[in-house]
């Protein structure tokens, strides 16, 4: 059925190929859409309302480059683990180990952020003295882990439905506030003025890149399901590109409505900008719709994140980069159940000790490190296997412009993180550096060399 198999108690068990383009779209958009419901607005805090719009489009360009590059490489290296499998075949084992960790941290911390958002939203709605978000966080993470444990098809069918509902709520909000008229409900001219549009000047725009990433972070997660997609060469590029278009539209609508309804200082600190926008319209129906949609978006995102983080961790175990115990596939549900269970307490622990913008920053940091890798990876891919030497499911146009744009925007984003969150950045990179030393000088001895290269490709040029 697939090229991937894991041996459990003498029986060979593989991941199931059951997913289509709609599931790929649901996985990508489902993970990301929560970024419209919280997180993107912290870019207004760092640079003002206009900076949040500028980064919405410029970071959209970054992610369009990511989607183009990713579609080419993934449609050619269709293996569980996504970018991890790409790094293993194109750059080398240590890079693959790091990329898998980027994926696991980016998705696990995104899952943590989702759970915190969900818990805080319920607590805010309930308005009960002494009620904390902890039980809601625990219930969310444990329930979704169980869903993932039971099977990928059910997990992504659920994601498709709740993502679609959350997306439609943004469209309904947008058209309910008469977006073509200013003054009745929306008051953009009075809230974003020449005096406050860029309160920190252009350095604030650069600083805002950090949370601008949150508009789209996770779209590259579509590749994690590569081994469970029926037709990877068609479904992955189609699902990823459709997801990116969907998100660009949602991000533009979200900014326009929110910036037209609340002052930038408030927009920059609220945990639920779209729910607040619903409240400020004065319509109880919209308020309740956006409350429910915020919960659904958080659920869909956390659900997809558990799916992706577990597959990246599973891949590490399968290649013996980590103990092979993690590479077991459930004999009945055909899911990487040990990886799902292992990551569960880690997510729970951080959901209880981190706050929302800290968890988001951890996730963004790992994401940007991964995008930096992707910009170099595509250059190496084209150099080692030029066009025509291997069969590609999709070939992205304008190479190397998307890779150069992506690399430059990653450098700007590192600088943006430095502006306000520099210590956190240095601490995270120090961790990746130390764990890389551990892998290179110790753990790699347990890895079979030639077996890591599983693609039926010719020898790379230059080797």
């Amino acid at each position: 059925m697939t090229a991937v198999e894991s041996t459990t108690q003498g029986e060979r068990v593989s991941l199931l190929r059951v997913l289509g383009p709609a599931h790929v779209w649901a996985l990508g958009v489902g993970i990301v859409l929560v970024g419209e419901f919280t997180g993107w607005n912290f870019s207004a805090d760092k640079g003002g309302a206009l900076a949040a719009l500028i980064v919405c489009w410029v970071v959209g360009l970054l992610y369009t480059s990511v989607a183009m590059i990713d579609s080419e490489v993934t449609s050619t290296v269709a293996a569980a683990g996504g970018q991890y499998a790409q790094a293993k075949h194109i750059v080398g084992p240590l890079m693959a180990f790091n990329v898998a960790l980027f994926l696991v941290f980016a998705y696990t911390m995104l899952e943590v952020s989702d759970a915190i958002l969900l818990g805080d939203t319920i607590v805010a709605k309930a308005g009960v003295e002494g009620l904390t978000h902890n039980p809601f966080i625990a219930a969310t993470i444990v329930t979704l882990a169980w869903l993932n444990y039971r099977g990928v098809l059910m997990t992504l069918n659920v994601n498709f439905v709740i993502t679609a509902i959350a997306y439609v709520s943004i469209v309904i909000l947008f058209f309910s506030v008469s977006p073509w008229t200013q003054g009745a409900v929306l008051k953009l001219n009075e809230l974003v003025t020449p005096g406050n549009a860029l309160p920190y000047g252009w350095i604030g725009v650069i600083a805002a890149f950090q949370f601008g990433i949150w508009y789209y972070l996770g779209i590259e997660g579509t590749t994690q399901a590569a081994e469970e997609v029926r037709s990877p060469a068609r479904s992955l590029p189609y699902g990823t590109m459709a997801g990116m278009i969907t998100l660009l539209i949602a991000a533009a609508m979200t900014w326009y409505v929110c910036a037209s309804l609340m002052p930038w200082e408030y927009l920059g600190i609220t945990y639920y900008p779209l729910w607040d926008a619903g409240k400020l319209t004065g319509s109880p129906l919209l308020e309740n719709l956006l409350f429910v949609a915020t919960l659904l978006a958080a659920l869909a995102s956390a659900n997809g994140c558990i799916n992706d983080a577990a597959r990246a961790w599973f891949s590490l175990g399968r290649d013996r980069y980590l103990p092979s115990w993690f590479s077991a596939v459930h004999p009945k549900y055909r899911t990487p159940y040990r990886s799902i269970l292992f990551l569960l307490p880690i997510a729970l622990a951080f959901a209880f000790i981190a706050d929302l913008n800290q968890a988001i920053t951890f996730s963004i940091l790992s994401g940007v490190l991964q995008y930096t890798f992707m910009s170099i990876n595509i250059m190496m891919f084209r150099k080692k296997w030029p066009l025509g030497t291997i069969r590609r499911g999709y070939t992205h146009p304008f190479h190397p412009i998307p890779a150069i744009v992506l690399f430059c925007l990653c450098v700007v984003t590192f600088f943006a993180i430095f502006l306000g969150y520099g210590s956190q950045l240095i601490a995270m990179v120090a961790f990746y550096f130390l764990i890389s030393l551990w892998f290179h000088f110790y753990r790699y001895r347990y890895v079979r060399r030639g077996d890591q290269f599983t693609m039926p490709w010719p020898k790379p040029q230059g080797y």
Partner: protein, 125 residues
């Protein structure tokens, strides 16, 4: 090239390695929180006069703050809590050096490992 045969890892060794990874994850993510290194570097520029005008809010903005349940006094710490973008050059240089050093090490060490993989994979054929 002779085929590399990795040693079998004992169960105790696997458990130890899992423990190392878990500890590393918690140190990397929890320690910055504990040491106060995570989160935004912001500070409040306090104002003596706490009015909507002094806080730079026009009547539309003030009406929205009030709709959200804020007064000039309660909104003061939100509005005046600002980033101060002064570039600390030594920290920026350290950050750049750490990042560049990390990526250089990653690509160089990966390439050494990759050559072994390619040699074993393709010399076997």
């Amino acid at each position: 090239m002779s085929r590399y045969t990795p040693p079998e890892q004992s169960k105790a060794g696997q458990i130890f390695d899992i423990a190392v990874v878990v500890v590393a994850i918690f140190v990397a993510l929890w320690l910055p929180l504990k040491l106060g290194l995570a989160g935004a570097a912001k500070s409040i520029d306090a104002l003596d006069a706490k009015t909507w005008e002094a806080l730079g809010q026009n009547p539309t903005m003030a009406s929205i703050w009030e709709k959200l349940g804020y007064t000039p006094e309660t909104a003061h710490d939100i509005i005046q809590n600002r980033f101060h973008y002064i570039i600390d050059w030594p920290t920026l240089i350290i950050m750049a050096a750490v990042l560049i050093g990390y990526f250089v090490f990653l690509f160089r060490a990966s390439d050494r490992e990759y050559r072994d993989v390619i040699n074993e994979k393709f010399d076997d054929k």
